[in-house]
Amino acid sequence: MAPKSCALCQNSKAILRRPKTGQHICKHCFFTVFETEVHNTIIQAHLFKPGDRVAIGASGGKDSTVLAYVMKTLNDRYQYGLNLFLLSVDEGITGYRDDSLETVKRNQEQYDMPLKIVSYEELYGWTMDRVVSAIGKKNNCTFCGVFRRQALDRGASGLGVDQIVTGHNADDIAETVLMNIMRGDIGRLGRCTAICTQGEDMIRRSKPFKYAYEKEIVMYAYFKKLDYFSTECIYSPDAYRGHARAFLKDLEAARPSAIIDIIHSGEAFELKEEVRATQKSQQTCKRCGYMSSNDLCKACSLLESLERGMSTAITDKGRRKLEAQGLTPDNMRTIPYFHPSSSVDAEAES
């Protein structure tokens, strides 16, 4: 069979079938469409303005490694005028972060971007290794997820950036849409397809890879010869996210557009007004100043439960149980108060 020519440029020989569209295209056109789609996403959502200081959440995994590369490329090509930084979180997991942080450090040199690493130990006084030794393997990712979110914000605040970009891809978002519907989480369902999220006084977060398929990110890394560390979840075959992920992969196999179709669906609906009115409004944590739905933010609740030798403050019920135990001891370690700083302040400091 004669080799097919590229469905986009019609000139070169097609060497790959594009996961998103099924088209047979050449390598050069693949780079072009991948980068242009990310650029379209950025422009359409008005993500940046010239002079913005932007931190790239970098874990050393595929998404953030490709994101750092693409952000650098687009910033140069389209003259966004951004000051880019790399921001990593060290959870304190022996053997896990050591290697991937090396990738991030290499990216720092390759792309000439300043790097900041925020560690759980420095911020919370607990590494994940210690958390697990205290609470066991069950639910440890609740602690890790909550701590990471706040750690990123605090790291970004330290860098004085206007925005954090993360490597969340189309598969992650489609999976979240399905999962939130299936477990009835209307609060998250209402905001999970937003390209930009921002709590009150918090640093803007956005997802330039919102429409980029995971397979295409891997393909981009492969052709660009970017090295990264794969981080595969191998836990909880019975857990909800695992179900949703496997289901999404099946849908993608039946019709590759399913991922982007789910995102389109998620963007096409919103909560009814009467439902929105019942949602809890955001406030500020009384202890650390971070955004929160309750008096205490999730990170402070979890940290208190660790400090007091309990591991039950994960659910609302657990939090109430914690409160019923009595007042917080004076000498207990708490998270430093959060003062989001502006880029002007940061520049003045530097």
Partner: protein
């Protein structure tokens, strides 16, 4: 090296697996009468056979009767006075068999008897529906592997007095005679349109087969048949002056269809997947006019009744279920995958289907929804083509900004889902449709309602129309060139 807590969960299954819940909450005694031993567990609650029947009746009429009067006033107050007849969409499947029985028991059996309980306005005291039709859509002409089941359906319906069967064939959607009959007007002349709609097939069966052959995936075939069936029911209801259509969609089927619809890009119309107010394209409606002008309200009265309850109803009431026609499609479809997934999930998490339906019930379309798709006649958003071309570039020559205003191309008149149905290919798709011009084959046959609307739109003036989570642990490994290649290998065409 892996972290201490990143071990193999299978080894420590006792700690990481979710504990399986008991099938019922408290005791084996019926939660309703608190006397009899239970016969059925419905989402952790135990019911006896005697309490089960009124429970289902209550769920049925609570989901239907508030919507019978043309101007709904919430929970039913006073008499039920529908504007027109009732049409039951009957597939022969489990849900529609239960629905048929419930409609008969509630509105036909013993009507007019004075010896029954209930107030003056109870449906049994006065006949609510002057006429009840049952409409069955037969698909066997399109799929030679299937047999015509109209006679079996006729037999199943004949068991109930007072129902009139209207058999419809799926290819009627492409039949000029059928269209002239239901619409009361002449079928359109498609000759002058800027793109080819006829496909050259004058025979309805051939026209539909051409349409189906042009579809790129098995998912698209089932989705198209479902759309055609829905529109055939709606236009048939209109033609017999029915103000309501009821479908036997159970809670389980509803959840499956909601997830399936969302997975096919139908997020904008999820409210319609639960309940729909439809009117034919040729009916002129005035804003604020509350009188009935032939609109059809599509209701799913079994939307709170799960598949398990339907099965129990059939068993305890000794109903005969003809069975739903299985469409022979070669590969797994999104609908099949969703069904398997939801039913599997329901086994471990019995509240799943109810949660899905409740969650989706809290959603509304984002933005304006006045414009309707020519194919499915559901509301559509503006600028869907622009969105598609921006997020998935398929050509370097398309000008995204002009795509939504190019009124001479069919995509301009399609909703996101229908456009995806017609164009989204799988890895093995061979069919290719050209929706933009008339000079390249294959042309697309369109159902009569779509062709008529396009003829009207394009025939008059060139109108500007629509335009990290819990419970995860991680294993980390550096990916070398070979590792990366293995991940993308299936997409590489040669020894790249």
């Amino acid at each position: 090296m892996m972290a201490e807590f990143c071990g193999n969960p299978a080894v420590e299954a006792g700690e990481v697996l979710m504990p399986r819940k008991r099938k019922f909450d408290r005791s084996r005694i019926c939660v309703k009468c608190k006397i009899n031993p239970g016969n059925l567990v419905i989402r952790h609650s135990v019911y006896c056979k005697g309490c089960f029947t009124p429970l289902i009746f209550t769920k049925f009429h609570q989901a239907l009767e508030p919507y019978i009067n043309h101007v709904s006033v919430g929970p039913r107050r006073g008499a039920l006075k529908p504007s027109g007849a009732l049409l039951i969409g009957f597939s022969g499947g489990l849900g529609s068999s239960v629905l048929l029985d419930l409609v008969y028991q509630r509105y036909c059996a013993n009507v007019g008897s004075d010896n029954l309980k209930g107030g003056r306005e109870h449906p049994r005291k006065n006949k609510v529906w002057q006429k009840i039709y049952v409409c069955y859509v037969e698909v066997s002409d399109i799929f030679p592997e299937t047999s015509d089941r109209t006679a079996q359906i006729r037999e199943a319906i004949a068991r109930y007095d007072g129902f009139e069967l209207i058999p419809v064939r799926i290819q009627d959607a492409f039949d000029r005679t059928w269209w002239e009959r239901v619409s009361g007007g002449a079928a359109p002349d498609l000759a002058g349109l800027p793109f080819d709609l006829g496909g050259g097939d004058s025979e309805p069966v051939a026209a539909l087969q051409t349409h189906i052959r042009a579809l790129p995936t098995p998912t698209a075939i089932l989705s198209t048949l479902s759309t055609l069936t829905r529109l055939l029911l709606l236009y048939t209801a209109y033609s017999v002056s029915a103000s309501h259509i009821v479908l036997g969609t159970s809670l389980t089927s509803l959840s499956i269809s909601l997830i399936s619809s969302i997975s096919q890009g139908g997020g904008f119309v999820v409210p319609q997947a639960i309940q729909e107010e439809w009117f034919p394209q040729f009916v002129q409606r005035t804003i604020g006019d509350t009188s009935w002008n032939g609109e059809v309200r599509l209701v799913r009265p079994l939307r709170d009744v799960g598949m398990k309850e339907c099965t129990a109803w059939v068993w305890w009431h000794q109903l005969l279920v003809v069975g739903k026609q299985r469409i022979p499609v070669p590969k797994q479809t999104i609908g099949d995958l969703t069904k398997n997934f939801i039913i599997g999930l329901e086994r471990d998490y019995p509240s799943t289907v109810s949660t899905i339906a409740k969650t989706v019930g809290k959603l509304a379309p984002r933005g304006d929804s006045r414009v309707r798709c020519v194919l499915c006649e559901l509301p559509t958003q503006q600028f869907v083509q622009r969105w598609k071309s921006r997020t998935s570039i398929r050509s370097f020559t398309d000008d995204a900004s002009s795509m939504d205003t190019a009124t001479s191309s069919l995509p301009h008149y399609l909703c996101y889902s229908c456009h995806t149905t017609l164009t989204s290919k799988s890895a093995r798709s061979t069919a290719t449709l050209n929706l933009h011009s008339s000079n390249s084959a294959p042309a697309l046959n369109l159902p009569m309602w779509a062709a008529t609307r396009l003829a009207l739109e394009l025939g008059s003036e060139q109108s500007v129309g629509p335009g990290a989570p819990a419970n995860e642990i991680w294993e980390t490994k550096k990916l070398d060139d070979g590792g990366m290649k293995s991940l993308v290998g299936e997409f590489l065409l040669e020894n790249e």
